[in-house]
């Protein structure tokens, strides 16, 4: 079974610490990530129109290239890449006419798209392939006394056909937190939209969403949030600036990618460069818990 890694745009820039820490984690777990060649934009958001195949082309081109490079599975870290690639694949494969038409665009590719490469999120690899029991054996610095809220957002659990866990009551990320020695805290707003790309046109909405989501986590006892989506991370972390200005009673909370905390628990050193990519400084909390 050959695994390929699909990074996507933001993993190379604003979410570089997500990629770095995931690489470290998979190295320690004995399954190093191998980046596929010649990847392009995943499509970012799945187009739900039934009649416009142009909007599916970049997703399908990536999947075709992964197929041609011999990967059985394509692993993504970003929730949006996972969702977009997987839905595009289902949409095209479920209709022979779509499959024929989309292949008409693939002139310069080596072969035709057949849909043989599966799209899998890293969390599923950790749970189903490596297993949490195995991960637990490699934990050298458990996240003792750290209460963490897992923010799933939308795209790991909806649409329900491709949810990585139960679409209304997932536990995979909380189980992961427990595995690395922390306390996974369930909070009410963990599956609610952060406002996504409204962060550009309707900033007020994302500011209010951030306020509500982080307050909900705080009231449930969380000290930090984890996520796997760079857009959620941007809204929930960077938008705390505006949230603090808008809501005087608001108190801030660090937001991590789940792999950052995994890397620490697996004995990896905290990379000082990562701090620059956080808006809310996570260092005081990590120091308080004796993790760095």
């Amino acid at each position: 079974m050959k695994l390929g890694y699909f990074p996507g745009c933001t993993l190379k820039t604003n979410a570089k610490h997500f990629e770095d820490s995931a690489m470290q984690v998979m190295e320690v777990l004995g399954h190093p990530l191998e980046e596929m060649e010649n990847w392009i934009c995943c499509g970012t958001v799945f187009s739900m129109t039934t009649d416009d195949l142009m909007l599916q082309l970049s997703s399908i081109r990536n999947l075709l290239r992964a197929e041609n490079q011999g990967y059985d599975e394509l692993v993504t870290l970003c929730s949006m890449c996972y969702n977009t690639l997987k839905r595009a694949k289902e949409f095209i494969l479920n209709d022979e006419e779509n499959l024929r038409k989309v292949n008409d665009f693939m002139y310069r590719e080596e072969a035709k798209f057949k849909g043989t490469t599966d799209v899998v999120h890293l969390l599923s690899i950790l749970k189903d392939r490596i297993t949490f029991d195995e991960i637990k054996k490699k934990v050298t610095k458990p996240l003792k006394d750290l209460k963490i809220g897992a923010y799933y957002g939308c795209l790991l659990v909806r649409p329900k056909e491709l949810a990585i866990d139960d679409f209304e009551d997932p536990t995979i990320m909380e189980e992961l937190v427990d595995t690395i020695g922390g306390e996974g805290v369930v909070f009410p707003y963990r599956l609610e939209c952060c406002g996504a790309y409204q962060t550009i046109t309707e900033k007020d909405i994302t500011v209010k969403r951030t306020f509500e989501i982080i307050n909900s986590a705080r009231n449930a006892g969380c000290e930090a949030l984890i996520t796997s989506c760079p857009l959620c991370a941007f809204n929930l972390d960077q938008r705390q600036k505006e949230t603090s200005e808008e809501f005087l009673e608001f108190s801030t909370m660090p937001v991590f990618y789940f792999t950052e905390l995994m890397a620490l628990a697996l004995g990896q050193k905290w990379n000082k460069e990562w701090k620059k990519l956080h808006y809310i400084n996570p260092v005081p909390l990590l120091k308080e818990k004796g993790l760095i």
Binding site: C41, M48, E168, A196, Q198, I200
Partner: protein, 135 residues
Amino acid sequence: MSLKITRERIKNSLVDKIEDISGQNVFDCYQCGICSSGCPVTDYMDYSPNQVIRLIQLGCVDEILNSRTIWICSTCLQCSARCPKGIEVAKVMEALRTINLRQREGTLKPEDIKSKDLKDLPQIALVSAFRKLTG
């Protein structure tokens, strides 16, 4: 809100177009309202998601095509996941945006984004907004 419902209005070709682009049958909706109760951004909408479906059933497509609601929807898919009749409401919203976008009527003009914001915003935010909101 009062509406004059006529046979011509209900037999509107735009309703067919919405059903065609979305692949959804809006006439399956029996107005339980679960889509609106789960939607996290109804506060910002002029019509709630169940009202959007009802107005399409009544052929009042112009009201909806010009509404704020369709641009506020961020396709989080909560409505689609919960609809007891299996209507993917988010796909209907996408069809409504699409009809506007195909006439070059979007809500985001790339040149309006401030250069400071451009520096701060990750690609994932920019590209997704362009795909959903730019005609």
